[in-house]
């Protein structure tokens, strides 16, 4: 290919690329549908309705309008245990601004007799929900514990953190983002 042929070829590629940008534009104006429930940033948080350790029932979709941190955990999981104090501390910093923490215990794979002593020992004040059927774990495609889902006021997942323990600074940056 000589210089002129190459220049024409490059110009053709650039014009073709520009045309492709306009042809493939997303006319809907929203590429990730926030209406589809999936455990991934940009999607609607999968709904669940679970009983708390004190017997109340909490439905995630009823909390629309508030920022929610859903933390999936178990008592046998060391990083889950390690991050609870930080979650409690940051929850107390932000609860007045509209933060809700739902700590969903993976009861189907945990020893239920160990949950209450752990909560007492850690002095946790946020609701502890019990996933006895693994339905919430399935809906959130749980692969490892702990897994945390930061849900904004519209009910969409803003950020997912797999593994732990989460540092307080990480919790604060993610919570600030969902409180906006």
């Amino acid at each position: 290919m000589n210089t002129n042929q190459r220049k024409i070829f490059y110009a053709f590629i650039i014009i073709l690329g520009l045309a492709w940008i306009f042809l493939s534009a997303d006319k809907s104006g929203m590429s990730t549908s926030g209406q589809i429930p999936a455990p991934q940033p940009g999607f609607l948080a999968p709904d669940f309705e679970l009983k708390t350790i004190t017997g109340e029932t909490i439905k995630l979709s009823d909390l629309r309008g508030q920022a929610v941190l859903v933390n999936l955990w178990a008592t046998w999981c060391p990083p889950c245990r390690a991050e609870m104090k930080s979650i409690e501390k940051v929850y107390n910093e932000y609860k007045d601004r509209g933060l809700v923490v739902l700590a969903v215990n993976m009861t189907y794979q945990d020893d239920p007799t160990k949950i209450t002593p752990f909560i007492t020992e850690q002095e946790l004040t946020f609701p502890i929900l019990l996933d006895e059927t693994a339905n919430t774990a399935k809906a959130y495609q749980l692969h490892s514990l702990p897994s945390s889902f930061f849900i904004n006021r519209d009910g969409k997942i803003n950020e997912v953190v797999i593994g732990g323990p989460m540092a307080e600074a990480l919790l604060r940056t993610r919570i600030e983002a969902i409180l906006k």
């Binding site: 940008i21 997303d26 104006g29 549908s33 540092a167």
Partner: protein, 240 residues
Amino acid sequence: MIEIFRNLLAPPRHIILLIAAIWMGLALAEKRAEHHGVSKDQLNNITFYSLLGYVIGGRLLFALENLSAFTPSPLSIFSPNADLFDPTAALITALLVGLIYSQRQKLPLGGTLEALTPLFATLAIGLHLAHLAAGTAFGSPTTLPWGIELWNATRHPTQIYELIASLFIFGWLWFRKADFPSGALFLNFIALTAGARLFLEAFRGDSTLIFGGLRLAQIVAWIVLAVALFASERTQQQKN
């Protein structure tokens, strides 16, 4: 099949795949480094210092950007959480560190980039494998028969499209017969990668949209493609 691959490694599977890609890419780059006027030690050092810059820069700049979150618990800066990280700042730091190292060692810019190109091309393959494993960089919904079930919809397998493109790019660069002028191989890699992104971004379901539907990544890729082609032409002219 994809589900088996995704379950093969535990999270953070994307980081494991990226580290494997760096290791393989470096091993491949070493084979041809001296041909481009860069010794194996210099290649390893520039990679090591750049990676160090990537990790430290990404964490430090994230902390600076979120100073109010770190002030009550400053020790969080040493947390093993990979999420306390700014990837853009990390990349800029890595580039700066690499540039400073190559300047101090008086390495030729074109030759150094040429020597590092196999590493970049392998890293691109690793990145798309990481996307596939983590389910990120996902496609838009489709009714095409090769669509994959992901995030509660049948979607374009964009991770696989991008993986195939990066394998082709790597193959083309590695097995090329033509003798390019210094720096042209790297520019070819940039142009091909930008071209692939420009084309394949159209099938993504997670694009950042601007100006009523234009995809930001396509605009950036188009600019990068134009600059790479222009620079490539200049390199060719200098050779002639």
